[in-house]
Every structure is written in C-alpha cells, then in structure tokens.
Amino acid sequence: MLDAIITILQVLIFPGVLFAIILALLYEWVERKFKARLQNRIGPLYTGWHGILQPFADIIKLWSKEDIVPAEADKTMFTIAPMLALASQLISFLIIPVVSVYALVHFEGDLALLAFLSTVYLIAAGIGGLSSNNRFSAIGAGRSIIQHVGYEIPLLFVYASAAFIAQSWSLSKIVEYQVKTGVPLIAFLGIGFGISIISLLAFIERIPFDIPEAETEIVAGWLTEFSGKKYAFFWLADDVQLLVGAGITAALFLGGPCGPVPGIPIVDEILYVIYFIIKTVIIVLILASIEASSARYKITQAVSGFWKYLTPLSILQLLIVFALRLYGVI
C-alpha cells in the first residue's frame, strides 16, 4: 500500500509531472533570457527575480482565457490534440533518469518508446493542424511531418550507436554503463552529439528549423487556430519537449544525472538533480545560441540537408562504433 502511494506521489510530484512542468517553465525563462541578451535585448524583467516567473504568468494568463473551438474545426480531434501532445511529453520525462541512475520507468527497450512518443507528439501536431480546417494550419502540419521524416532516421541511428556501446536499448542502462566505465559516451559519439543537437532543434521546432510555425510565412503554422487553454497545453508541451530533449541528450552523451557523489542517500539524490540541471542547462544554452545565430531554412533545404549530410554522418557514426567494438576499445 505504502509503496503504491509513494509511486503515485513520485509520478505526480517528484520527479514526475509537477517537477517536469516547473523545470520546463524555468528552462523557458533561461532560454528566453539568454537569447534576449545575445540579441541585445533585456528579456523578461518584471515578474519575479529578473522575470523568472514570466513563463508561469503567461501560462496562468492563457489558462484563464475563453476556450474557443473554431466552428469549422473537427471538435473531437481539435480537443484531443493538445492533451495528446502534453501527455506524450510528460510520459517521456518519466523515462529519463533524474534523481538516480535509474529512471522512474525503465525497462529493456524504453529508448524505442521515447522515439515512439516523439512521433506521438508529431501526430498530435498533425491532427491539431489538420482538424482546425485552416490553410495555414494545414501547411504547417504538412511541413511538421515532412521535417520529421528528415531528422528521425539520423536520430535513431545515433540512439542505436549509443545502445550498441552499452549493449542495451534502455536509457537507464546506458547511463549505468557510463557510470561503470566512468567515461561519458560523448568520447566515442562526438559526431552523434552534433547530429543529436541539430535533430533536437528540428524536433522542438526552433530557428533554423522552426519551419512548421514560421511566423512570417504561415502565421503560426499548425498552432494558428489554437488559443486559451488549448494553446497553453501546446505551450507547456513545447517547454516539456525542450526539457525532455535536453534530458535525453544529457543521458545519452553526458552521463545523465551522474557525477561525483559522497554516497550518503539523500545528499546523493540532491546532487544528482543538480548535475542533471547543470548538464541540461548547458544543452539548452547551446540550442539557444544556435537559434540566435542563424536564419530559417526552407523546408526543402532542411529535409535535403538532413538526408544528404546527417543520415550518412549518422551511419558513419554507427560504423565507427562497430569498429571500436571490433578492436575491443569498448
């Protein structure tokens, strides 16, 4: 009984849903502030310390707004899409190790589940865009899915390389392997890390790959018709997506939440969370600086770039890993 209650609390509060949402909104603030400073702006300033509560205020404001469903939209699909998007990302967060080497949910093959959940998010975007019955939404949804076709395969090859080194398709096992050997996988997967960062930019739809929601071209892409609570859901999903993306990258290449710890139970866990935050924030800052220093690609340029350069590079990465294995380095 007690175990069950603790598990439920873990899933709902720490390190589960509530923790993920708070952390995601804080990361949004980090990203906004850092990007603003790069662009010679100030960024959020008035709500809380240096505007740290601004994302929370934005979400609360959106929550208090009227819920509008366009008359022409498919009502069921239009309502399901935002929930599906947020749910898929929150479930993904449970698979990422945060407080210990092992995540809350871990089993052989959870890396494949993560890849699947990222596709679920895309499906949510797709049905959200197509069900709103708007030209801009339809184009945005189409672009979103086309872009996914571009970056998913190189990303999966990189996952496969990491899984091959650790001899396991479980994210927690990959972290465990890194703890055991004491070497983060970035040492062997340098190319993979680069591919992963670029694919992550495409996954979270930021410049230079914010093609599906390019403001100056198609208003807000598949998000055009969403407002109020439903938009807040997508907004939160987007933030959690950033956190999840950074979390997976940290776990695969930088050893997840692990680092030097004294070995005292509670202190260890606090330190793990701090290491996790430091590593993911570094990844968020890398993403933000790329975002601030490039223009938006066109969809044709993006997809052909993914197929021409990233896919061969990811296969090369896989071959390098095979060779290292063959010569007994790993």
Binding site: L38, Q39, N40, R41, R135, I139, I207, P208, D210, I211, A214, E215, T216, E217, I218, V219, A292, S293, S294, A295, R296, Y297, K298, I299, T300, Q301
Partner: protein, 390 residues
C-alpha cells in the same frame, strides 16, 4: 491541385494592409494577383483644396517612413513653379536630412528583411544601429518621424557647430557597423541559402516592367535620379550609383547596404563643406503662384518619386500628381514571385521595400454599368484641356 492562399490585408508578414492572392501547387507559387487600395486617403484631392503652404504639411504625411523626401520633392516643385532660388546653406541642410532619412529607411528595411528570413538577432542589432540615425534626426529637427525641415524657400531649422560634431561622430560609428553588415551578408551561410537566387528579376524584365529604385539597381541597371538628373547638390557631392549584378534578393540587400555607405559619405561631405549664410527666403503664409506647369523627380529611399503640378495663378494648386516608387515596383514583384516557394513570399514581397500607404490609388466603379476605371494621364490631360483650353 491548386490551393488559393490569401495573404493580407491582415498578415504578420505585411506591415500595412494589402492583399495578395497566391495560387500554389504544393509549396510552389503558380500565379499571383495583387489587390491595392485598402488605404486610399484622397491626398491629391485634398491638396487641391488647400493653399501651397498647407499642402506642404499634407505631402509630409503621404508616407510614414520617407516623409521628408515627399516634402523635398514638393518644395522643389513649387520653387520651380515660382522660378525661385533658395540659399546655398539650405541646400546642404536639405541634403543632410534627405540622406539621414535614406539611412534610417534602408536600415529599417534591412532589419525587416532579416526578420522575414527568420534571423531575429540581426533584426535587433540593425535596429539598434538605426537608433544612431534616429537620434541625429531628432537632434536636427526635434522629431523622430515627421521632421518638418523643408519649407518653400529653404529650411526651417539651422544646424549648429555642436550638432555637426555629433553628426560626424555618429556617422563614423555607423560606417563601421555598415561595413560589418556588408561583409557579413554575403558570407553567412543561412542568409545566402535564403536569399541567393530567390526572387529573380532579370535586367530585361526590370526594364520592361518599369521597376524603380534599389530593385532596379539590384537588377544591374545603372539608374538613379541623383546621378541621372542631379537636384540640390548631388553633382558637387560626386554621387555614385550603386548596382549589383546578382538580380535577386541578396543583390537588393547588398545594394541597399552600399547605398547606406554612400549616404554616410555624402552626409560627411555636406557637413564639412557647408557654407555660412541664411537658411530660408521668407514668404508670406498665403501667396499666389503664376500660371505654370512643372515636374520634379527625386530619388526616394524606395526609388524614383515624381511630383507633377499645375498652378492657375491662385493661392491653391490646380492639380498635384504624385507617383510613388512602390506602385512602379508592383508589376515587377508579381514577376519575381512566379515559381517561388511559399517560404519565399515574405522576403520577396519585402525585397521591393513596399510602402503601401503611398501606393494606393482610387478605382472608380460604375455599379450599374459594371465598368471599372482609374485615374490615368489622358484623363488628367482631358481635365486640364477643359480648364485651360490647351
């Protein structure tokens, strides 16, 4: 399957109300139909109702960004109607404000162009540098938007020695930044990917469709009113026309940055060579202009601006006709957009630096007969013949 995408009159990529209907197949545009006329304000008619001095203030409000060039062209027109000479110093001050305005307009456009291709960082940086120019304009005229510097017979405000120093200092800083953007634009890969070969307009098409201003010069046509038919002191300032042979959006970016650098040079020349003396020739508030016809053209930031005026001996003009550069560029714009991608629409539309509020024309529609016509030159000639019998 052809989808019809309406862009405008309200759209995030358009800062002013204008409607374009794009017929697209997949991501490719097959046909464009522009529709102007959302912002018609009847300015030409309003000018006929007021005295020459009152019209000065109306002409300033034709355009929000290039307000000064409209008054400059208007006062040049009235001075030609009256066969009037203005003091030397006034010419220098007019040129300084004209070129500062060109700088601010081009920098504004440069920022918007970077924003349209998704490069928001450069947008913020360019607009920060534009503040140097805005501060100088405020220092000279007291205003950031409508400078009210020109008046019939000269200028209204003098430039002091202290202001001269500040202008030179600001220009030095700006030149450094402009050279940085000039170096950066053809090198930065994402900018090149989005602009090189996009929105092509060949030299023949540019001439055939009567493009104007930087759009024309980016198609490798050496045409600039400041060089071809120098007004004020552009001949003495040894003005050079900037061209680019790229014939695309990148060419238009480079031509505008080059023109900014040239404008900085002209401003420095004006400040250094400015003679002492009076700045205006006083006129009474209401004066009569002898019966005459005149025509003036100047180079606005967006291209050739034409004012044509007819006076009938009274204190009000009989007719003022304004031809703005954006109107001339719209046929060329439709040509550029053919066979482009949807993603290129904003940057190609922006590349002519559209100013739709100056563009709008009145269209008469006779509902009963289903007839549609707009004001044209033969129509005006007919009206003038009716009035003067010639």
């Amino acid at each position: 399957m052809t989808i019809r995408i309406p862009v405008g009159p309200q759209h995030p990529a358009l800062k002013e109300p204008e409607r374009f209907i794009f017929y697209v197949e997949g991501e490719q545009i097959v046909k464009v139909i522009p529709r102007i006329g959302f912002n018609h304000r009847g300015i030409e008619k309003a000018m006929e109702e007021r005295t020459y001095l009152q019209d000065l203030y109306i002409s300033e409000r034709v355009c929000g960004i290039c307000s000064n060039v409209h008054t400059a062209c208007y006062v040049l027109l009235v001075e030609r109607l009256m066969n009037m000479e203005i003091p030397e110093r006034a010419k220098y001050i007019r040129m300084i404000v004209l070129e500062l305005e060109r700088l601010h307009s081009h920098l504004l456009w440069l920022g918007v162009a970077f924003h349209e291709i998704g490069f928001d960082t450069l947008f913020y940086l360019v607009w920060r540098d534009r503040e140097i120019v805005m501060d100088l304009l405020e220092l000279i005229s007291g205003n950031r938007v409508n400078y009210a510097t020109n008046t019939i017979g000269g200028v209204r405000r003098d430039i002091s020695e202290e202001t001269k120093h500040k202008i030179l200092k600001g220009m030095k800083l700006l030149l450094e930044r402009l050279k940085y953007y000039r170096r950066l634009s053809p090198e930065e890969q994402t900018i090149v990917k989005r602009t090189l070969g996009v929105g092509p307009l060949s030299t023949q098409d540019a001439k055939r469709l009567c493009a104007a201003g930087p759009t024309l010069r980016a198609s490798n046509v050496k045409s600039d009113v400041r060089g071809d038919e120098p007004y004020l002191l552009y001949k003495e300032a040894e003005f050079q026309t900037m061209v680019s042979d790229l014939c695309d959006v990148l060419g238009r970016i480079l031509v505008r940055i080059d023109e900014c650098i040239e404008a900085v040079r002209i401003i420095e020349w004006c400040v250094k060579n400015m003679p002492d003396g009076p700045i205006r020739q006083k006129l009474p508030p209401i004066f009569k202009v002898p019966e005459n016809q005149a025509y003036r053209r100047v180079e606005a930031p967006r291209g050739e601006l034409v004012y044509y005026g007819v006076s009938d001996g009274s204190e009000k003009p009989y007719r003022i006709k304004i031809r703005t550069p954006t109107l001339a560029n719209i046929p060329a714009l439709c040509k550029m957009l053919e066979n482009q991608h949807i993603a290129d629409i904003p940057i190609v539309v922006a590349s002519i630096d559209p100013c739709f509020s100056c563009t709008d024309r009145l269209v008469f529609i006779d509902i009963e007969k289903g007839k549609k016509w707009s004001c044209s030159m033969p129509y005006f000639k007919h009206l003038i013949k009716k009035k003067f019998g010639r």
